[in-house]
Amino acid sequence: MARSPISQFSPARWLERRLPVIVVSPLFALSLFFVYGFIAWTAYISFTPSGVMPVYDFQGLAQYERLWATPRWYVAIKNLFIFSSLFIAISMAIGILLAILLDQRVRAEGLIRTVYLYPMALSFIVTGTVWKWMLNPGLGLQRLMREAGFENFTFDWLVNSHYAIYTLVIAAVWQSSGYAMALFLAGLRSVDDEILKAAAVDGSSPWKTYTSIVLPILRPVFLSTVIILAHLAIKSFDLVVALTGGGPGYATDMPATFMYAFAFQRSELGVAAASATMMLMTIIAIIVPYLYSELRKTA
């Protein structure tokens, strides 16, 4: 809304009026090139027979057929599904519980919140390192329990290909459930106090007030928390590398580590590009409708 006084044309004024566009354009160009251009390149490579080096002959969906014929990809997809559903469900449950408890006028709330949230400031590599140490069957939790008198206590999930995926859930929940708590707490704080008072006057029990009044109001917060956690889950790469290295074997591979392995270790660019494109599609399916509704609300 640049409103300048009406006057004759002058180059300086013309420039001044165009400045916002001139400033935004290079940044927009960066985004076009590094985001959309790169996505287009990756998507195109997924339609070519590229191996060690990219080639540009279009060959249709062959790489996708190879991808979906790779058992390791199914392991990655299955792991992503197990990991994200457990990670989201448990983080949400802990998050909402802690948020409700903290909302009861707790003394030292600030301190407690700080404790709940600090893991979010850590790198997933650090989180993976410490949990790897605590869960290692030799000297970690297993040893602790045995020393405490449970002679037969066994906890070898980290090296057990059937259970290793759950160690990722344990570490990821530890890191991110405080984040869910913070989002829910912000949501709870925005609920109008009058509604709560009215419910209390009506003799509604605290439990009932929460389940039938407060939580329904928080529906949008639930939605955005699920989306943020799902987004974290789909991108999870660091934690897998640090905690299990994708192993034992490739038992804890996820799409992100699968893509990395095929791109940088096995030099199968076509398959890597196809898997990256599948990841992008998944994110788009989740994020775009959400962004659309969010932006419409604020516009």
Binding site: M1, W41, A121, M134, R143, D193, V241
Partner: protein, 297 residues
């Protein structure tokens, strides 16, 4: 003070509510333990000798405090073939994070300002298109980025990482500043225009001084993201130019020699210290960044 309490749902009345309060604090305290135990284990393990680690358990405290593991993690642990500890990689991370944070924050600020206070046709679309970049899985840009860095002669260098982090941080920083500026009255900008101030004059003299909170939130968010990044570091750097997260992972997941858990833990703490420090000093801003990361301001 009593009267104000009525707005809470659990109100103090009688024995039952006293018990409820006790239960409440018990649960909150248990969760505090849950979040703190790994930190305690990390610190106490890092202060033990290897012999003590083998004898004791996770929760046993060090009998004699030893800083050997810290010294080793800092300047003599082997990362790949190089045995200088984490120190050179900490410098890499600082050399990467500081310019990338400053650049992406500055560009985000001017972008957010132009997109909200000087709305031109298509501004909303441009914002939406830029914003999308904040959500893409970075796997989708790894391959072309590696090639582009190669073409620019930046492959495997710290400046290359600065470029990558600046470019992919822009979407977030623009989002933060846009959300902040939306709340700033247009009247201020219009009044300054009437006084003859231009685009940059208004930005530097009026808008920027009032956006200190937004700047702090953005800087903290970007610093945490960039410092903690692993994917770009591992994909785009080799050996000497690795950021500290990659070096830490190399120390921990090396398969040669005796496993030195105390050194691993000391290294993990060293790598985590800068972001932890920021969190402790400016936790409130960090939390604001987290909730702004949830798309809405």
């Amino acid at each position: 003070m009593r009267a104000r309490r009525t707005s809470g749902i659990v109100r103090p009345k009688g024995l039952r509510s006293t018990l409820m309060r006790a239960l409440l604090f018990a649960v909150l305290g248990l969760f505090c333990l849950y979040y703190l135990v790994p930190l305690v284990v990390m610190v106490s393990t890092s202060l033990k000798t290897l012999a003590e680690i083998r004898e004791g358990t996770l929760l046993s405290l060090p009998r004699a405090i030893s800083f050997e593991a810290w010294a080793k993690a800092w300047d003599s642990a082997c990362v790949g073939v190089r045995c200088d500890g984490l120190r050179p990689f900490m410098w890499n991370s600082i050399a990467m994070a500081v310019p990338a944070v400053l650049l992406s924050t500055a560009l985000g600020a001017i972008n957010g300002y132009a997109l909200t206070k000087w709305r031109f046709p298509g501004a909303d679309w441009i914002f939406a298109l830029i914003l999308f970049g904040a959500f893409i899985p970075f796997q989708v840009i790894l391959l072309p980025m590696a090639r582009t860095l190669g073409l620019l002669n930046l492959a495997g260098t710290v400046p290359g990482l600065i470029l990558v982090h600046t470019v992919y941080g822009l979407a977030f920083t623009t989002l933060f500043f846009r959300n902040f500026f939306v709340g700033v009255s247009n009247g201020i900008v219009q009044a300054a225009q009437v006084d003859g101030a231009g685009f940059f004059g208004i930005f530097f003299r009026i808008v920027l001084p009032m956006s200190i909170p937004a700047i702090v939130v953005t800087v903290i968010w970007q610093f945490t993201q960039i410092w903690n990044d692993f994917l770009f570091g591992v994909a785009f750097t080799v050996g000497d130019s690795n950021p500290v997260t990659v070096a830490l992972n190399n120390i921990v997941n090396t398969s040669t020699g005796v496993k030195e858990y105390n050194v691993d833990m000391a290294a993990a703490i060293i790598a985590a210290l800068p972001t932890m420090l920021v969190y402790v000093v400016a936790g409130a801003y960090f939390v604001r960044g987290l909730s702004a990361g949830a798309v809405k301001g």
